[in-house]
Symmetry: C2
């Protein structure tokens, strides 16, 4: 048990007098509380780094939030209507308590003495944050990837507090293919002698292992097609092979850059903890005794589940499986698989179609909520 | 340039008096000359290790050759009719000259002073081997993955020597997705401080980096479906999560085993060199000035191209692209995509359908060759 927890958060838009317009946005593995807008803080923007950010013309080290295309005035999560909150998850290294935080008992960083956190723990911490902010309930909760797991967990854990839920490119449990890549990424970090069983703070950190972990993750976020479109077999600023082990091909050079820029802004232990939480997440196991249908039996939120056709890490079939379980329990659920070549990264890039679907879904949810509270009044 | 090259090879079956029945089998990245039958040599069998071998009930450290299901009496490459040769590629560590061999000039292992070898170099060395063995031409050449690249290269480089060509689960150039995974595997090895720029012989070798590289490769040989079928989210000999970083899930435990057993039989530098050769292979670039059609213009061999539906590393579309180029040049080509859930590993596992197709194709080729030589006589 942690004696004290700090959560970094940001908010966008204006809280309605009746507090009925709150949306919680949940970030993915490498994200943070800075979901939208420009930040002048030097490391605030880094959550977009790597996530296909340059496809959108965002400077890799620029200050735009990780879901800036989706959160803002007139956007999918329209801050002219809604009040959006995003907090950095517990276990991360971007302002919230995690393995790099000081253990008040010893005065030294927790390292691997930090407890293994689950998606359930992340959600419990967010619930506490909302309580402290005086937010009684959520009009909606959304997020991609690990963020979508948090959204699903919220709807199951606190059914009476959630009006709607929008998991994007997510799953009620990670497929073994994803488990494997997460394991390999952790092995890369833990194999780096500089990792020192997690006690590297103040010393040379395990940057080489973390860079390999990031490269592994990064490729799983792309698709075969998006890699052909973006790189093909193009050489990087040369005419012919060097016949060496240097990164001759553009995709090689790109990956090396992704690895080396990531290690400047992310803590290796935090990567281990969040990767472990993703692997452990299994809604049927934790809430349904192995049955997904039973796990969602108590859900009251309406669901909009979005998946992307070329996402092989969180494939559409995972999203469809959750939709089927919800439907079998008589819940209100829409599931849409958006055609895209961007792979898992599509949740950060396919803004037009997501905006269309999310805007309509949120507007309808908000109308219903206001009608129902008018009736109650 | 290498002053001297050694090639390890094995043969199966009997050479016909007119030497018309020779088939060259070419191995993949981690394979070796021991393609078929049982070997008592302690490390001879290891080429099958990991390649889904346990699915076939082959002991992971047993003595069966890597394509034993395909090469032997009555099998696809029927040793009652054909004489099959398999040699370990140059650059490997399984008996042929590679980076772990002694440099005669210095008396020390080459390490990274070994020249970067290409698929073309592998084929040139095989050509020399056949010359020394007095083999004038090949009835057929086949192999999976990197082995298929060698088969293709043979048919293009020595058109007058090759009667037929059977590339399996292969490609005329690696897709950027494959380039990325190969790069990450090499980064994992070269990031291990024990790698010491390749000069680790006689010292602690870079086993942790090589294990990560092998795990990366191994997952790319599987498919999402085969991982569900084989592992699902099953725990390894436990009832509940340990809430730790130990390999709780069966797939995690399996990967760790794959990594640690591989490092006992394979040299890290050899892995780098063969991975680099795979990445560099680009038939259109090397033989067609960028055009695949031009590259295959001089081919005289008949082609049977086999691919597997769930192989995402060497996808059926790559095989189809080569077939289309051959057809456009008026060549004799069959392309078959075999339905399979085994991913890239299918070339080692889907024996029944491969056998049916290859047997018929070889029999027809052999009939034609004998008819044509009877006419000439």
């Amino acid at each position: 048990m942690l004696p004290r927890v700090r959560l970094a958060y940001e908010t966008y838009g204006t809280l309605a007098p009746d507090r009925s317009n709150v949306i919680l946005a949940c970030h993915a593995l490498s994200g943070d509380a800075h979901a939208a807008g420009w930040s002048d803080e030097p490391d605030a923007p880094s959550a977009v780094d790597g996530f296909g950010a340059e496809d959108k013309g965002i400077a890799p080290r620029g200050g735009l939030g990780w879901w800036d295309g989706m959160i803002g005035p007139g956007k999918a999560f329209d801050t002219n209507r809604y009040f959006v909150i995003c907090s950095n998850v517990i276990g991360s290294c971007r302002g919230s308590t995690g393995p790099s935080s000081l253990d008040p008992e010893t005065g030294r960083p927790y390292g691997m003495r930090f407890p293994v956190v689950t998606v359930g723990d992340m959600v419990t911490a967010q619930r506490e944050l909302l309580r402290l902010l005086g937010i009684p309930r959520l009009l909606s909760i959304s997020g991609g990837s690990l963020g979508g797991m948090q959204a699903i967990e919220w709807a199951v854990r606190y059914p009476e507090l959630v009006d709607s839920c929008i998991p994007v490119a997510s799953t009620p449990r990670l497929a073994p293919m994803g488990v494997a890549w997460n394991f390999i990424a952790r092995e890369a970090i833990m194999s780096d002698p500089n990792w020192r069983n997690g006690d590297y703070y103040g010393l040379e950190p395990p940057t080489r292992g973390l860079a390999v972990a990031r490269m592994v993750g990064h490729v799983t976020y792309l698709s075969a097609q998006s890699m052909w479109d973006k790189f093909g077999r193009r050489l990087q600023e040369r005419e012919d092979y060097s016949y060496s082990f240097a990164p001759d091909l553009a995709v090689e050079s790109y990956l090396r850059h992704q690895g080396s820029s990531f290690v400047k802004r992310f803590d290796a232990n935090a990567y281990l903890y969040l990767s472990r939480a993703i692997t452990y997440y299994d809604l049927a196991r934790s809430h349904g005794g192995g049955s997904l249908e039973r796990a969602v039996a108590g859900v009251r939120a309406r669901f909009l589940l979005l998946a992307f056709s070329s996402d092989w890490l969180y494939p559409p079939s995972d999203s469809e499986a959750l939709a089927a379980a919800l439907r079998a329990q008589g819940k209100d659920v829409q599931q849409v698989t958006i055609p895209s070549s961007y792979g898992h990264d599509a949740f950060l890039l396919e803004e037009a179609r997501q905006t269309e679907l999310i805007s309509a879904f949120l507007a309808e949810t908000y109308d219903r909520v206001r009608q129902s509270s008018a009736v109650q009044r």
